[in-house]
Subunit: 256 residues, 2 copies
């Protein structure tokens, strides 16, 4: 079942990428959601409808939690659940036409099964799961090193870093450097490729589901700042990092 | 002369890229310079020697200011001056094996002539100058829009943003979002491609020379925080932005 699931998702994301590239050839219509920097476009909506349709046809029994709200809200994690982010990093999509992702994470009774992150403009698909080692375009990648915080670059939320919320500014200064990309998908991709030792941000379930499932294949620790497990039914701050850096970030978040 | 200069630099950077990719196939030796996050590698040194050799042979009368200190320090900008950054974003080179650049900026009596930024891992060469419109791999790009700060993403220095130095944290929050890449070359490339409305950081002459020369072809404003021109003989804070955003950033830096 896992092999077929992975093949299905890879095919859908590949087709999804082509659809997005086509849509980018005509003007994109942009609207705001919760605030001036929370954007949605016609392409997010169209791509979500496409992916949700594929999932419903192939897995009619599954629940689907998707960013743009066409699907019914998921209220428990029993059974097979798909988390869909049709465009992660919509601000980058609008302003940069790069550095955004399409993501799907699949869970069975709350446990990760499989995750996939499609970096649309680079045509790079990162995949994995607890029983599938991480891969880039189907090729296994070297497992990320368990670096100390001081020896790794840290992906971070811009606003949390600037406000030093939960000491994140100080934590970033204690690392090899902060990197801010504006896309959770780009950050989890970079962690999987060993380019970042971790990532801290306020995330929705669809922002983290794919990355957390892929990370289960290489020891990535994902938790709330107090060490509690991430609850995929609600938004909140997520600390996703390799074990040594994860422990230090949690320790520094609780300081003072 | 400009056409030959551009052709020479393009050829050197292309060869330089191949040399770096080859060097990356064997372990890189890393040392620190002014602090734990200021790195230099054998590849920086080798690539600088290669580029300086090419410049000395082709332009024996020129002065050369280069990051890794083999060349004599330039003390005035009379005549033809080459600024060379053999690897910009050395931390990214070491930790990410991506998101770094090789840069050359050329000035005549202090005025920009030509700049080139080679994004090594993406094989993307951004070029331009006051009389050469900006190009990506030789193809002209659309000129960046003169967006308001609130409508553009802002590239920023991590430490300056976190410390809110010169109000840069607040300024980043007033934009569409902060982006931190860890490489001046990546930031100037993104500005040239219209992906960022500006960039603020503490920069050395070789960090800014190429980007400022390219920016002269599309109205990029580069100054110190007080509006004074950038002096290519010394390091300092640089505000590089499209005109409307540049004016707003300077205004906000002087507030309170």
């Amino acid at each position: 079942m896992l092999k077929a699931l992975a093949a299905n998702i890879e095919a859908w994301l590949t087709e999804s990428r082509t659809r997005i590239l086509t849509a980018m050839q005509t003007p994109v219509s942009v609207a705001t959601k919760t605030g001036r920097n929370d954007l949605v476009t016609n392409v997010d909506a169209d791509n979500q409808a496409f992916l949700v349709g594929k999932i419903r046809t192939a897995y009619p029994q599954a629940k689907i939690e998707a960013e743009e709200g066409t699907a019914a809200k998921v209220t428990d994690l029993d059974g097979l659940v798909f988390f869909v982010d049709p465009i992660d990093g919509t601000m980058n999509f609008v302003k940069q036409r790069a550095n955004f992702a399409v993501m799907i994470g699949v869970y069975q009774d709350g446990a990760p099964l499989y995750g996939a992150i499609m970096d649309v403009m680079r045509n790079e698909l990162v995949t994995g799961g607890p029983s599938l080692p991480p891969a880039l375009n189907g090729q296994p990648v070297s497992l990320p090193l368990d670096r100390l915080l001081k020896d790794g670059l840290l992906g971070a939320s811009g606003p949390m870093t600037i406000h030093n919320y939960l000491n994140l500014g100080d934590i970033a200064l204690a690392s090899s450097g902060a990197r801010i990309s504006g896309s959770a998908g780009m950050e989890f991709k970079a962690i999987t490729l060993g380019q970042l030792v971790g990532y801290v941000s306020y995330l929705q379930p669809w922002d983290i589901a794919a990355g957390m499932a892929i990370g289960a294949g290489f020891g990535l620790q994902c938790s709330r700042p107090d060490g509690q497990p991430v609850d995929l039914l609600q938004a909140g701050v997520v600390v996703a990092a390799m074990p040594q850096a994860h422990a230090e970030i949690l320790h520094r978040m609780q300081a003072k």
